[in-house]
């Protein structure tokens, strides 16, 4: 079979045993997250903590990774999640070139278990796999680890490494590769295993079952269907070439007269017409989109991307002012990564020179320390804790003596000495360099992760009431901190908008494309309830953000997955005065299900869920129809295992169902519907800029979604029949044994 190499690499850091095993038993789960869920299910018993040596960290790639199929450079890094208060499974998502290199080295994934006695890194050059001493690297950042390993392996090596945050068990820490690609949340699992980095060189080849010409044709076809990053299929501005004059709401920001201004010479993005496949890589001018006119365009050197990606969404910048702050003027990152550090500032005008400088200064620190912001939850919590002045009522509600009214939570919770360690005048002041000093001070406290007495911070010490640094309270993660500080738990539920909205969802995680997606409120809420971190799902927003008129979006969706009676999947409007979406219906349930399934498929095959699905296209000649079979066509051509879209969707459901079972088993919870699938209270109250859930309709939404998946409505658990249909009868048997079969 093409695509897979046939071998999965396993490294046991406790015993030092390195083994290679057949991929066969994982093929029904494809690879990536699917393979990783299977590993966790089979090998990691319930009750295991994220930092227990028995936990696995799985670097999952799939049959498409490295084949050059468009958008196939991704890696899913799955483990028990350190940020989750109950260590439930979750995945961080990393792009770059590391995953394809693992495939060229001959491996369909890398499973790491155990704990090394002292810091190590893993050397992989094809068949040669070694555990090597990382003593010299430990204590240093990601940049240094990369340089050290490349000095040893050569410049063609691809390195995934953690920084001090991962080493020091900061729960929000990442593993990074290829300069700007990070898998959030899993850094401390590597740290807990004394694993600093993994360097790879692969010189093998992958088998594509299709002939070269057939493969070329298919890749070409897929290129014609693709639009821009985040699914945009029309340009963001009104452009003369767009055949129907469609425009707006997309990341297709290229335009005539708009340049990558810091390139030498500057590169004009220009008219990137839908049929000009050579300009696909120019369409998504994300530097301009994110940093604004006159700033983003001025400082963009180029837009980088993952292996096999024609779209490209990582912004490489040149900001000379950074040299005055002591870091390199050249930085690369994208989306939320660009606000990791600058999120600890206030009063910087968005889309200004100071904004890009602060952003890229933060990138320089965070990408070296290996910090992950939990998709911005850490900074939102920080700003509330630093700025919100507690009232007497809030104190009482949180069990705080009301004499503390008038203080901010940090002023009340931190010792005076710890509070005074941070330069707060620089946080609130207007001096820009002072603000950067503050960012640096906070970041150093986070990466050091210490108690007030200078010993390593632990959750147990915090629970015992020992004081910690402010950085350590960030490092412990929102899910635990709210247990320690009830005022934060109340804020997480109520989400009062001052001084900044937090948008926590549950169990330690923030929302991600939640009810602010006002056209798909129920589907977005379903996605946010399912995972044990923010869902990192973009299927819904990539489709509804494609820039086509909403009526056309519904028409295309209905053609692909309908017909439906009883209403459309995508709402044109919310009802006044409470911003309620139209009632839950069949189309919405199928839309939600497909969003889940395609995300699982993308993370398992692997393909990029930051751009797909390809249900719509930029082509007027196709009347903007895309291709439901895109993933199935790629999979079939590569592996030779011919599958239709519907068959592959069932594989997606198998993966999701296994994940669901594993989550329930670890929680030992039969009532997943009410104990896991929670919504924060604020989601049911009208507030600006988002749709509102209605309690009765939300229950219908869960009913319909469970039913679509073949899960029991009462418990939200998969049924015996569904397990059997999906080839998961062995999972059903285990669930039955645990009393978790509905």
């Amino acid at each position: 079979m093409g695509g897979w190499t046939g071998k999965v690499l396993r490294v046991d850091l406790t015993t030092g045993v390195i083994s290679k095993e057949s991929t066969d038993k994982y093929k029904p789960y494809l690879g990536g997250t699917g393979l990783a869920y299977k590993v966790l299910w089979d090998e990691v018993p319930p009750g295991t903590d994220a930092w227990d040596p028995a936990n696995r960290i799985i670097f999952g790639v799939g049959p498409l990774t490295g084949t050059g199929a468009p958008l196939s450079g991704r890696v899913s890094v799955t483990s028990l999640w350190p940020m989750h208060p109950e260590s439930l499974p979750a995945t961080g998502h990393m792009g770059g070139h590391w995953g394809p290199e693992l495939k060229y080295a001959g491996y369909d994934s890398l499973i790491i278990q155990g704990k090394a006695a002292s810091p190590v890194w893993i050397y992989i050059k094809d068949d040669v796999v070694e555990i090597r001493d990382a003593g010299k690297m430990w204590g240093n950042g990601i940049y240094r680890a990369n340089a050290e390993i490349m000095n040893i392996m050569g410049p063609e090596a691809h390195v995934a490494a953690i920084g001090q945050c991962g080493e020091n068990l900061v729960r929000g820490s990442n593993v990074m590769c290829d300069r700007s690609h990070s898998a959030g949340g899993v850094g401390s699992v590597m740290g807990s295993k004394n694993l600093k980095a993994i360097g790879i060189i692969g010189t093998g080849a992958l088998k594509v079952e299709a002939s070269k010409s057939a493969w070329k044709d298919l890749v070409h076809y897929q290129h014609t269907i693709l639009g821009a990053n985040s699914g945009g299929v029309v340009p963001n501005t009104l452009q003369s070439w767009q055949p129907d004059g469609y425009y707006g709401g997309t990341r297709w920001t290229a335009a005539k007269g708009l340049f990558w201004g810091a390139a030498s010479p500057p590169v004009e993005t220009g008219d990137c017409t839908a049929d000009d496949l050579n300009s696909i890589g120019l369409r998504t001018f994300k530097g301009y989109a994110d940093f604004g006119p006159g700033v983003g365009d001025k400082h963009t050197v180029k837009i980088q991307g993952c292996h096999g990606c024609p779209i490209r969404c990582h912004i490489a910048t040149d900001v000379p002012a950074l040299e005055q702050l002591g870091v390199s003027r050249y930085q690369v990152n994208t989306c939320n990564g660009n606000s990791s550090g600058s999120g600890f500032t206030i009063g910087i005008t968005s889309r200004s020179e100071n904004n890009i400088t602060a952003s890229q200064y933060g990138v320089a620190l965070c990408d070296d320390f290996g910090w992950w912001s939990d998709y911005g939850l850490a900074q939102a919590d920080f700003k509330w804790l630093a700025q919100h002045v507690l009232t007497a009522e809030e104190c009482t509600a949180a069990g705080i003596d009301p004499v503390n009214a008038g203080k901010t939570p940090y002023q009340y919770r931190l010792t005076a000495a710890e509070y005074a360690k941070l330069p707060w005048a620089k946080f609130t002041g207007s001096d820009f360099v002072g603000k950067m000093d503050f960012v640096k001070a906070v970041m150093i406290q986070i990466k050091d992760n210490r108690m007030a007495d200078g010993t390593p911070a632990t959750w147990e010490k915090m629970q015992a009431g020992q004081p910690a640094t402010l950085g350590a309270y960030i490092a412990v993660g929102a899910g635990r901190l709210e247990k320690l500080w009830p005022e934060l738990a109340i804020q997480h539920q109520e989400n009062k908008a001052t001084p900044s909205a937090i948008n926590y969802v549950k169990m330690g995680h923030i929302k991600h494309h939640f009810t602010e997606s006002s056209d798909t409120v129920q589907a977005a809420a379903l996605l946010n309830m399912m995972y044990n971190r923010d869902p990192m799902c973009h299927t819904h927003t990539n489709y509804t953000g494609n820039g086509l008129p909403l009526a056309l979006q519904n028409e295309i969706f209905n053609e692909l997955f309908g017909p439906f009676e009883g209403g459309n999947a995508i709402d044109a409007e919310l009802a006044a005065p409470d911003f309620l979406p139209t009632p839950m219906n069949k189309a919405k349930a199928v839309f939600a299900k497909m969003c889940f399934l395609y995300m699982e498929l993308h993370n398992s095959l692997t393909l990029c869920n930051y751009t797909l699905p390809g249900w719509a296209s930029p082509l007027k000649s196709r009347n903007y129809r895309g291709e439901r079979n895109l993933e199935a066509m790629m999979y079939s051509a590569v592996t030779g295992d011919a599958k239709t879209a519907q068959q592959l969707e069932d594989t997606g459901l198998r993966i999701l169902t296994l994940f669901r079972a594993d989550t329930a088993r670890r929680m030992n919870e039969k009532d997943m519907r009410n104990k896991h699938d929670l919504m924060p209270e604020y989601a049911f109250h009208a507030h600006s800029g988002a749709g509102t859930l209605d309690h009765a309709d939300w229950e219908v939404a869960k009913d319909m979604f469970y039913e679509e998946c073949g899960w029991d409505k009462t418990t939200g658990l998969p049924t015996q029949a569904t397990y059997d249909r999906l080839g998961l009868s062995d999972v059903a048997a285990v669930m039955a044994g645990a009393g978790l079969l509905p």
Binding site: A205, K212, N336, H512, S518
Partner: protein, 297 residues
Amino acid sequence: MEKEDQKTDAAEKVRLEYGNEPSTVEKTAEPTIEEIQAKIAETVRTAAGEHSAMTPAASVFALVPKSRQETITALLDEMAADERYADIKALTTDSGKVFFFSTTYIQADEAVAKSRIEEAKVKIAEKVRADSQDRVKLTPAGDLQELIPETERYRIAAILKEMQENPATADIKMVTASNGHVFFYSDWHMSNYYALVLSRVTVKDPCATIAAMVRDESRVYPRPTCVQFFMEDLFEIPPCDLKAIVDETLKKPEYGDIKMLVHPTTGGVYLYSNRYLKDHMAAVLMDWQEVGREANP
């Protein structure tokens, strides 16, 4: 098994082995010289016989496969000497444009007069296409007058109609502004909607343009329109006048459906038509455009 070990560039490599190519690869046979010549003759004769039209050289060249382009001259010389094609003649105009015709249907003197018109059509098409593609602007009807021979100017409407009926120039489209002024554009290079927008701008009634654009966005997508949109060059509204023009639009009774919203935190100003978009939805969508999208990357 075909093998490939190829570095696409310094940063990216793709190492693949492929399955076998299908053993019989069907190739579309290239036409022979004879077949190409017959096709040219047929095209020229049909144009002349059915439409009484000359055939521009570009249409003839298009019939020759790419692989044989360098042999065009020889191929045509051969035709000139071949009695089967004795009726196929070429005519070069004063400006150097070449046309073909069949003497079976068009007499030589008639061809000279026709070639002038055909030449004008080519020039019109070239001008309109260049305006649409390179300058991204409409071509005023008046600009086309001088491209047409003086003796034929009274026939301009008929000439343009002929162009629209001929597939080779059917991309040349007409748009009439609300004040009755007529413009042309090529829909190969400019969408009908973009041409409509440009025609709105030509009327120099920015209030009407703003109202029309706002109604379109509220109706089609639907979404409110940020007033900054109107600072794009194509609207020809001086940024310093924009506020006054928006205020004036909001005051005019004929645009009573156009409403304004100001974002409470950013101060961003949006317009929407309450014919198509309810007030509260305009506010929700404004919030998404103004802060939501950036806050939810």
